[in-house]
């Protein structure tokens, strides 16, 4: 088998898989499956990341009272197969939620698998131990560069050191399903990729998720930090190379990347999970799909103080259960549409009805 025919075969396999996935997506539109339920526990945060999707500003805004979350957990357990649902807690910094451990212990006792995102700075040895006791399976901690860069992006001196200590405390505690580091790369820190890699090589983490800065939340105020086309190519080549080397470096869930990159930089093919697998309960009780999606009338599906979560999931969410591409002429005409479907819901411009991040002409071309 020659190299070029092998490459053709690989592209063929991917095309077949993505065709299957396209059919499957249509089925999911009619029969969605709740697989990830996010709780935005608080908007409070002890950092001020410039790229924060929630625009947390240290505001003293907590999420729902614990009793309300417990009520939702009971209801979801009653109406869904929770062996297939992962509870994902996030913020703000979720550890700042006053009743954090009481709530997570409750979820654990009900049988929920749960994971969280955190800036890591509050994870002392004692907290790591409590997290294990409360049944936390997985955690993703943000490290956005080498020490100086990370602290600058987070507007807090000593943040990097504290976060690295937090990760080490989790590693020392042990017993978690996966400890992941997430890094958001931008035009400034992309030059630190290799050094960051070397740094994480020495740590006993399970994976490193490397994603690009997206034009959402507070990052909109820093257009000069967005990745250039060259930066994007550098990022994807880097991830692919490490994965060829058997290292667990991965891109995130976003964006259709084209035949040559799909399933090379992550384990799965692009399928925006918003509203077909994923739902979120925001700090004010609003219900939506992914938390990074712009919050506005058409994306908010209800509020848990007015309706049951189950009814909202079953009866609404229509906006997420049809192809985004239908709303935009370029997407409709695009040859990649059948696999891309208009891209990620979180990077859709709901005023102009167009995709803000399209990898066409960056990672692939169409004829």
């Amino acid at each position: 088998m020659r190299k070029d025919s092998m490459e053709d075969s690989i592209r063929q396999f991917k095309a077949q898989h993505m065709d299957q996935l396209k059919e499957y997506r249509e089925q999911l539109f009619h029969a969605p499956q709740l697989r990830q339920l996010f709780f935005e526990l608080t908007l409070r945060c002890n950092e001020q990341c410039f790229h924060c999707g929630s625009r947390c500003t240290g505001r003293e805004i907590d999420g729902l009272p614990m009793e309300k979350y417990q009520e939702i957990l009971d209801e979801v357990k009653e109406n869904f197969d929770i062996s297939r649902v992962q509870l994902c807690v996030t913020g703000g910094e979720p550890l700042l939620y006053g009743d954090f451990f009481a709530l997570m212990n409750y979820a654990h006792k009900l049988g929920y698998r749960w994971g969280m995102t955190s800036n890591g700075t509050l994870i002392t040895r004692e907290v790591a131990h409590q997290l294990r006791e409360a049944g936390m399976g997985t955690i993703s901690i943000s490290i956005d560069g080498l020490e100086e860069t990370h602290d600058r992006f987070r507007n807090r001196k000593g943040a990097w050191r504290k976060a690295m200590e937090g990760i080490q405390n989790l590693i020392d505690e042990g017993g978690f399903h996966a400890i992941q580091v997430t890094s958001v790369m931008n035009h400034e820190n992309i030059s630190e990729l290799e050094e960051m890699y070397e740094m994480f090589l020495d740590m006993d983490i399970d994976s490193w998720r490397v994603i690009g800065l997206e034009p959402i939340g507070r990052a909109l105020e820093y257009p000069e930090r967005m990745l250039t086309k060259e930066d994007q190519l550098r990022l994807f080549s880097f991830i692919k190379e490490k994965r060829e080397d058997e290292m667990p470096v991965t891109y995130g869930c976003s964006h259709y990347l084209g035949l040559d990159w799909e399933r090379e930089v992550r384990d799965w093919y692009f399928l925006c999970n918003a509203g077909i697998y994923v739902a979120s309960i925001m700090a004010n009780g609003d219900v939506g799909a992914c938390l990074d999606i712009e919050r506005r009338e058409e994306t908010i599906q209800g509020n848990v103080y007015e309706d049951r979560f189950t009814d909202i999931w079953n009866d609404r969410f229509q906006i997420f259960r049809s192809r985004l591409s239908r709303r935009n002429a370029s997407c409709k005409m695009c040859p990649a549409e059948k696999w891309c479907s208009g891209g990620a819901f979180h990077s859709w411009d709901y005023d102009k009805n167009e995709q803000m991040i399209c990898m066409k002409d960056i990672l692939f071309s169409v004829t």
Partner: protein, 115 residues
């Protein structure tokens, strides 16, 4: 961060699978005959040529090996389950999620005991 013990990039995994199949088939001398001495097993571009036929004509055997390789690899790789196409990285896979169920044996090489 530890090595996964397998290629995580799909293309590289497929190439490795094909190489492993070639190596296995070539080592089974009773079926395909021994590899030609001095030819690296890992040279994908020459894998069919590295098979030395015993009974059949060279061209026939090469074609048979190549067809079987493609068919085997293809069969394994087309076993894609869209229901398992999950983003497990952020929050980890569900605890009952078996990575091995999401693996395609041929992609990640033959069983270790295969000679």
């Amino acid at each position: 961060m530890k090595k996964a013990g397998r290629k995580l990039a799909f293309g590289a995994a497929v190439v490795t699978a094909a190489l492993n199949l070639t190596a296995c088939n070539n080592r089974n001398a009773a079926v395909y005959g021994p590899p030609e001495s001095g030819k690296p097993e890992t040279d994908l571009s020459t894998e069919a040529e590295s098979v030395k036929p015993e009974a059949e004509s060279g061209t026939q055997t090469e074609q048979r090996v190549e067809t079987e390789l493609i068919t085997e690899t293809e069969a394994a790789l087309t076993e894609f389950d869209p229901d398992d196409n999950l983003n497990n990285d952020v929050y980890g896979p569900p605890e009952d999620f078996e990575m091995k169920n999401n693996m395609i044996p041929a992609v990640y090489g033959p069983p270790e005991d295969m000679q």
